[in-house]
């Protein structure tokens, strides 16, 4: 697919995100809108996977660590063919497979349970270690948020991945500079994430997180690195595509009401 086509898909994903969270009456729009390109790049251009055979053993594994952006993940999974689009609007409803935060075993394509932050990278490291023990060649990808870098457990896994030189592991960071209580640099300063990962012995890339080509190229480069895990710091705009949500931490976990959803969908046309 061309970059233009992929960008168009990302836009459709954004519309789905707005519709889903509006219908549910709760959820996390800012982060979800911001990671649309990362997830589209993954499912349409990076992952070796088969939506018709989600349990295929040799598939690449994708771990969503910042589980609250699952509306974006659900929308991309459905768009890639994992399940019927109609299910999207059941988000957060009693009995839905689309839980407020992802639940393993509930929905094809969801590798693990997440939502409580700072636990995804550790699981990704576990998969990378286990598959390497068995001589497998598939790759492990993980998406984490900047807020998760407040968690000590995340950095413990960062250390471990470097120790075992997990070159089969690629981590994406949604660097959108917001969390719940405000801007990350006010809540708990993280800069420079680039230098931190360098000091922790990772291969570090920084890209525009809305540039699908740049994301895909960074992953290609990562495949040429044989002695280090790779982190791709994706600079993103939270709330991307919806002017009144962009860069506003207040939209971390607030659902758009009907009127706001209408305005948002208008902008995303």
């Amino acid at each position: 697919m061309t970059a233009q086509e992929l960008t168009k898909i990302a836009k459709e994903i954004r519309k789905d995100i707005i519709r889903m969270i509006n219908k549910a009456g709760s959820g996390h729009p800012a982060g979800s809108l911001g990671v649309a390109e990362i997830l589209v790049a993954l499912y349409y251009a990076i992952l070796n996977h088969d939506p018709k055979e989600p349990d295929w053993y040799e598939r690449d594994r994708f771990i969503l660590s910042n589980g609250h952006v699952c509306p974006a993940h659900y929308a991309v999974l459905s768009s890639a063919g994992y399940f019927d689009r109609k299910e999207l609007l059941t988000l957060r409803k009693l009995g839905s497979k689309l839980q407020g935060h992802p639940l393993r075993g509930n929905l094809l394509g969801i590798e693990t349970t997440s939502g409580p932050l700072g636990e995804g990278l550790g699981q990704a490291v576990g998969m990378a270690l286990a598959s390497r023990m068995d001589g497998k060649h598939f790759r492990i990808y993980c998406l984490t948020s900047d807020g998760e870098h407040d968690c000590g457990s995340h950095w413990e896994a960062v250390l471990l991945a470097a120790k075992y030189k997990l070159a089969n592991l690629t981590l994406f960071v949604d660097r959108n500079n917001i969390q719940i209580d405000g801007k990350t640099e006010n809540v708990l300063p993280l800069d420079s994430l680039f230098d931190k990962y360098m000091a922790f012995n990772w291969n570090v890339k920084e890209v525009d997180g809305h540039d699908i080509v740049a994301i895909v190229n960074a992953v290609k480069e990562a495949k040429g690195v044989y002695d280090k895990p790779t982190v791709i710091i994706c600079k993103t705009t939270p709330g991307k595509g919806v002017s009144f949500m962009e860069d506003r931490f207040e939209w971390h976990g607030k659902a758009p009401n009907d009127e706001e959803a209408r305005l948002a969908l208008e902008e995303l046309k």
């Binding site: 589980g67 009995g95 839980q99 407020g100 935060h101 939502g115 209580d181 809540v187 708990l188």
Partner: protein
């Protein structure tokens, strides 16, 4: 019948009963406490709005610490401050504090025996739509297993305020469980409250069963008692807001009076209030017990009321349990 000395609100069984969440009480009480006690400090882990300490952070910015999404550090930093002489309140969702940081709490707060106050918000099913991995149904069990720790699950807004204000003064590690949803305020500012002392909030003349509850389920138990009265089943309702140290005297006395007990809580059956009551009665005065609680399952996404219904924590379920326990009593 409601004992007079309980001073419950006159609106207790009326539609227009005032509603507020227990988390709101935490925010109000902390500002009130800070006015008269300059040792009170508040720490949060990227959840100041949800745990209702934003107001405190604005009124007392110099006594407020934002640690970021770092619950383990939240506990150990608070321990250091308490060790130094402050009275720290740490706030997060119960699933993360005391969920994630249990061992830090055990070692640096409980074993150290320093007066850190742990506010566990969105407890029980009150994380509703967020789903099973945010719903904390195990906090009472893990906290009451810990030496030195006081464990309180207040029944409503008024009671939560009193619990927070008493915790400021009690010099002990203290866990207070609160919820997100608004719920009826059935006690009043004048109702008796003391950590460690259970209250009999409903007392018929010849009670055949004692309903022992904590948290939001105390009110649900009152509703059940009122219905049961109409059916000619007399009972006691005990507000057992303190799970540890549990009020053995009141529990044993109620078992002796009635010969049958029903416990009610928004928590796993394993290890919570029902377990605590059973331990007391098994040792002192065994009677049949039925437990209205979550039966060894996780929560899931859904509205609070839907989840309470699905997991059987409503008035109807309490009435059902009362009938069950009475059958067993009469064998």
């Amino acid at each position: 019948m409601i004992p007079k000395e309980q001073k419950l609100t006159k609106k207790v069984f009326q539609k227009g009963i005032d509603m507020k969440s227990t988390r709101d009480a935490v925010g109000e009480a902390l500002i009130e406490a800070a006015r008269t006690n300059d040792r009170v400090v508040v720490l949060t882990a990227d959840l100041k709005e949800s745990t209702r300490v934003k107001g405190f952070s604005e009124e007392y910015p110099e006594r407020f610490i934002e640690v970021g999404v770092a619950e383990q550090t939240l506990a150990s930093v608070a321990s250091g401050m308490a060790n130094y002489g402050k009275i720290p309140f740490i706030t997060s969702f119960a699933i993360f504090s005391p969920g994630r940081n249990w061992e830090q709490i055990r070692t640096t707060i409980a074993l150290n025996d320093v007066p850190v106050k742990i506010i566990g918000a969105h407890a029980g099913f009150s994380a509703g739509l967020d789903g099973g991995n945010h719903q904390c149904l195990e906090d009472l069990a893990i906290m009451r297993a810990m030496p030195n720790m006081i464990v309180v699950a207040p029944a409503d807004f008024e009671e939560t305020k009193k619990a927070v204000l008493e915790a400021v003064k009690n010099r002990k590690p203290t866990y207070i469980r609160v919820q997100r949803e608004v719920q009826p305020i059935f006690t009043s500012a004048k109702s008796p409250f003391k950590i460690g002392r259970a209250e009999v909030v409903w007392e018929d003349k010849n009670p055949q069963v004692a309903i022992i509850a904590c948290g939001a389920q105390v009110y649900e138990s009152l509703l059940a008692a009122k219905d049961l009265e109409k059916k000619g089943i007399e009972c006691l309702v005990i507000n057992c807001h303190t799970i540890k140290p549990i009020d053995e005297r009141v529990i044993i006395r109620s078992a002796k009076t009635t010969g049958a007990v029903v416990t009610v809580e928004e928590h796993q059956q394993n290890g919570g209030l029902g377990s605590a009551v059973s331990e007391v009665l098994a040792k002192n005065f065994p009677v049949p017990i039925e437990m209205v609680a979550v039966k060894d399952s996780f929560g899931e996404s859904g509205k609070y009321e839907e989840l309470i219904k699905k997991h059987g924590l409503r008035k109807e379920n309490i009435i059902e349990a009362v009938k069950e326990v009475l059958k067993r009593k009469n064998i």
